[in-house]
Symmetry: C2
Subunit: 309 residues, 2 copies
């Protein structure tokens, strides 16, 4: 029951009020695959890097049992590089540098061994590239999840709509849901988006948690209250990776199980934001993850009998 992920593998340089990094491993595909790898032991990654991408970073992925046959290494090009700076309250960030490099002409290749993946996760990328991955699978995966962002809503709205119409679950944040649907209420936005395509929708609300919509049901997961958000980079990707990793590993597409996957996504994201880059995701134990699941249970569980009000 393998999972194939497509997404960027990149260099990030991050500055927050707590410090500054050199070029470290980043990219949506990296965060998604790392988070998923804690649950899904057959995680495949499709991406592209340049000749400057160090072997140690590829090893980091391999050490998490991630199949990297799908990562093209472009001999004459450099790796996608992003640099950003977060402001005091971590709510806003400025992009300082974006060098697309090898990502500019990314033509995704699906290795033979990925062809039978039942689950496909499209990390945030050019929508037409996401679509290419769907098209290049011999048969349509049973469940396709897609992440995207406002940038593509502005830049390639038609391509975006096409790809969205071909997936089972769309994952975006609250402002993006409002922009994409033209609706202010998230409930109305969800109804409209689901009517137009994907059966399920996740709306990420950052520190306010996330909502899952589908089958005329709604589930709300809080974010774990933390004293310090050290570095929010990759939180949304980690969330998506935890979600699809758990969902594909349990191989149960019921709404009830998607609720659990949403909690797992929130748990994994809480580890990412505690440290720089992927550091918080690199060496987690099942017992650490379990403890944090318990925190989410304590945070949300109440025993009120609707019949005895």
């Amino acid at each position: 029951m393998s999972l194939t992920v497509v997404g960027t593998v990149a260099f990030d340089a991050i500055e927050t009020p707590f410090g500054k990094t050199d070029k470290i491993i980043g990219g949506a595909g990296t965060y998604i695959a790392l988070a998923a790898s804690y649950f899904q032991k057959n995680t495949n990654l499709i991406s592209v890097v340049g000749n400057d991408f160090p072997e140690t970073y590829l090893k980091l992925l391999k050490n998490h049992n991630i199949d990297i046959e799908g990562i093209q290494i472009k001999k004459d090009e450099k790796t996608f590089f992003w640099s950003g700076k977060y402001h005091d309250n971590m709510n806003k960030r400025d992009t300082l540098v974006t060098e697309l490099n090898s990502l500019a002409n990314f033509d995704p290749v699906v290795p033979d061994s990925y062809q039978n993946s039942k689950y496909l996760m499209l990390g945030n990328l050019t929508p037409s590239v996401q679509q290419k991955v769907i098209d290049r699978m011999d048969k349509r995966p049973e469940f396709i999840m897609m992440d995207t962002m406002n940038f593509w809503m502005d830049k390639t709205p038609d391509d975006l709509k096409k790809t969205v119409s071909n997936v089972d679950l769309l994952c975006i944040n609250d402002e993006e849901a409002q922009q994409f649907s033209g609706e202010n209420s998230l409930l109305s936005a969800a109804e409209k988006i689901i009517a137009d395509g994907p059966k399920y929708l996740i709306i990420k609300k950052g520190k306010h948690g996330a909502l899952l919509f589908g089958e005329n049901k709604i589930f709300s997961a809080p974010a774990l209250p933390l004293k310090t958000v050290f570095d929010p980079t990759g939180a949304g990707d980690t969330f998506a990776g935890g979600f699809i990793g758990y969902l594909s590993d349990t191989d149960d597409l019921s709404f009830e199980n998607m609720k659990n996957a949403l909690i797992i996504g929130s748990v994994m994201a809480s580890f990412t934001i505690e440290k720089f880059g992927t550091e918080g995701l690199q060496q987690l134990s099942k017992s650490e993850i379990g403890k944090r699941v318990k925190q989410f249970i304590d945070l949300t569980r109440f025993n009120l009998d609707p019949e005895k009000i």
Copy 2:
């Protein structure tokens, strides 16, 4: 096990994108007492109105079994009047008119029959007036809950700190918690506020729900996703009223029961914002309330075993 509430009883004139009201009954005390009255059958209200306050509005309160002996009717004065206009997305409002009138010199009187109240709810008011009510109780109520707002943090910070230090539970919104504590993270804000006084803290986050802190525990309640927020006026007061009404009626001050009270507060607030003013709160049945509690259960309940991750 009675509950005494102090808070404004007022005229409100409200304009939202959905319509406009004449002067209708409003005020923190009104919303709190109405919401509480669905649970606590012995709810007392301390307030002040002018000679222009119609008998029908007093009857509305009496019909909910609210004891209004504590509402002073000032023969030569007018009732506190507030008028506000909400903008398109309902996140911002402009105050158009504030006429303090009889509220300007409000000197709260605690009737004898209120003296043995085990529960006291201080609605948002001048902190020194809230303190006067505490001082005028023959013996300190067992549980005092207090609502306030940023206005008093700016205007009478010392009076505010004094009153806050004398209550068991403080209820404020997220921005107010940040301002009051000087901390950006809500978790850090809560720790600081609790260290300085009240044992429990509720942080209201509007459409993102509410957090309850105390005994080194945290509980998170979502807000019910709604298609239309018709009129947010009084939502926070209703929330507080539902909370203290349920808590005082069940007379169980455990953190577990406060979780239930937080859900009840959220349920009651969801009724208020669906209609203008207090309309959504005027004629609820226990079965309607129970149905909405069920919605909150569906919205938050998941079955993930931390041992089986």
